[in-house]
Symmetry: none
Subunit: 216 residues, 4 copies
DNA sequence: CATGAATGAGAGTTCATTCAT
DNA sequence: GATGAATGAACTCTCATTCAT
């Protein structure tokens, strides 16, 4: 009686886009399927044509959200600049929030974290994805650091994995502080401090911080 | 004029203890008042004798949770050791999770963060408390760093506030990674890397990292 | 684009019908949403598809209840008989409870009154509706009385508004007594007494009650 | 351990006074035992020392409320003035609300009516009391009317019981209208209209209304 | 006697999910 | 495929009532 040809993938992404937006505003728990359907401009029942249940939307959202983040660094990582410079560029990229693919959805992180650890029971799909995400980023940064150790710009006694975790952690951590207190927290400034301090801390040569940048 | 005498404060804390434990297990949203009452060994209605509603429990939980964390560093902060050493000690304290007052409730952080930002609408009590918490910790670390700048152990061109935010952020951030992947994430190791890298990065003297510690 | 088609208005009225019946039996306070849903033969949740909350059901019930009452007098009011006769007919209509559209729901009046005055705080929708109802009836009766004053059958020194209020009040008031003591209270008889007494009391000509009717 | 000698009757009345006041404000259903206890300045548990349960308070309240109303007419009823004058005086008494013993509790009537009819199931104590009340008042008025019939001031073909019911009903009924719309409803005026109209309607002699009073 | 802490039955309300159309 | 009406499990919160002190 009523048939329609639709690009399923495209529609699914439309729903997820709407979902992410709603989730960011209200959190997972307080976002209803109705909210999502309304935001996506479709009927409540239709959501279930594309997702088994609410949890599936959340899980899929993570993948979707992540994919958008990844793209940003691509250029830098591919480029042929030396490791030290790569790190510097990445910090600078983060520093300017205009480069953030989806600042408006940042608060989602908290929900993913919270949901992730509780998902242990139910197959842990989300948790697996999140760890995949963090692990791949740690590898990425670790690779850069190894590169820097090899070319002599970083000291030899670094555990690259740990250093990678540290960098990612620092960025995640200050994001938390910024989200909680956007008006008063100088995000860019702190990223610059991190950039300077970490590069100096990893440096092989005796640090001459003053020569390359000022901390404020 | 003679009625049952109960230490209301104590009982309230008992409920909060139970609540925190349940919250940590299931997250705020999936923890019911019933769960809390059962865990506290009291009736559902009794919970409402001590708290206006669920939100009040969450808010109070934060204060309770925080108070327990604060105590840990007290000793170090009061001690008369130089700034550099103070920082080192604090990192070491964090490094060993046996010193953590309530590791089992760590996942609560995620919920507090998530709940905090959404509480903006409803008076934002939680958000205010959380920012108070972070601000006071930033001040604490900033003071240590200023001290170090003054005694010549830290370089002069540091923005102490930013550096403080960086340190707290790094610790928060690696906590996230650890919570999500406890088995595989070497928390202590990363804290040591942070300690070494950050101290070196903040150092006034040209860094000679190898002389004082090894990163692995 | 193709969904179950339901006459929402009709279903809403079905729920209200069930609600009125339950309300009449138990009063507003002791009627639960479950009661209403069961009486309407639907699920509890479905009620909320049609009404925001219990108060909305009560408010809507009043309108629905009223609409059914209004119809009864229509005929008489439109008819071309003189004022005095109109009043007589209306009293006679009331006198025979077979003409009452919904005797079985009479006790609802008490709840509407009680609820109405307390609704002052919450927007007072119900109160407004009830006053609208009484005011329109007072106007109706006042118009008849004015008509009678003009055609010389009623004395000139009547305040029509007051007289209208009196008539409505008397009928309301004896309804109360009847509802409270159905077995022993002679409703029809009292209405006849009212008819006779009031008509005589309003009469322009020196009353010769005996000529037109007997009071018993 | 703690003993105190109290006039039980007096304290019970204190509770009922408080209860009536609260009931009038919020209605029976929305008044809690806590509200009553607080208003009475005693503990919640103490209420149960004097009343079996909430229903008992309501029932007792009615008796208490009624007793206060009854006193007002006493004087007139005992006085030796003729029937017609007696009625006139009673109407005038009602007309001036300053004479009302407890205008502020008038809305209670609605709740008593509502509660009364539903009390059928549970022994019907309240209903019995209310009917007793109405019956005794009807007798009172009926007696006056009989007296008037005997002394020739009222026509012979009156059913005194019915006329009594009519008078009480009219006063009850306009009270309803007034309570619902205090600002706009001219209570005293309507009572005067009732007085004049009813006295004229009951009059034995051909009515010469204009000679004795004006309706406005 | 007086009290208020404790309680659980039960009320209103929400919402993920189903399914007839 | 698309829809939204229908649903009941589940949740938060209230409150009459009990009872140890």
């Amino acid at each position: 009686m009523c048939a329609k040809v639709v690009d399923k993938k495209e529609k699914k992404d439309g729903i997820v886009t709407a979902a992410i937006s709603e989730f960011a505003k209200k959190g997972f728990a307080k976002t209803t399927i109705n909210d999502i359907a309304a935001a996506a401009g479709i009927g409540k029942g239709t959501v279930y044509e594309y997702f088994e249940n609410k949890e599936a939307i959340i899980n899929y959202s993570f993948g979707y959200f992540m994919r958008s983040l990844e793209l940003d660094m691509e250029e830098i990582l591919i480029s042929k600049v030396p490791a030290r410079e790569k790190l510097r560029q990445i910090f600078d990229l983060f520093s300017d929030m205009n480069n953030w693919s989806s600042v408006e959805f940042i608060e989602l992180w908290f929900d993913f974290w919270s949901e992730g650890i509780r998902s242990k029971s139910s197959k842990g799909v989300l948790l697996k994805d999140m760890n995949l995400f963090y692990r791949s980023y740690r590898e990425l940064f670790a690779a850069i650091i190894v590169e820097g150790m090899n070319n002599g710009s970083f000291r030899k006694n670094i555990n690259p994995e740990n250093a990678a975790a540290m960098i990612i952690g620092a960025l995640d951590g200050i994001m938390v502080q910024w989200v909680l207190d956007k008006e008063n927290f100088d995000f860019s400034g702190v990223v610059q401090t991190i950039k300077f301090t970490v590069l100096r801390g990893l440096s092989a040569a005796p640090a001459q911080g003053n020569s390359e940048a000022n901390d404020e």
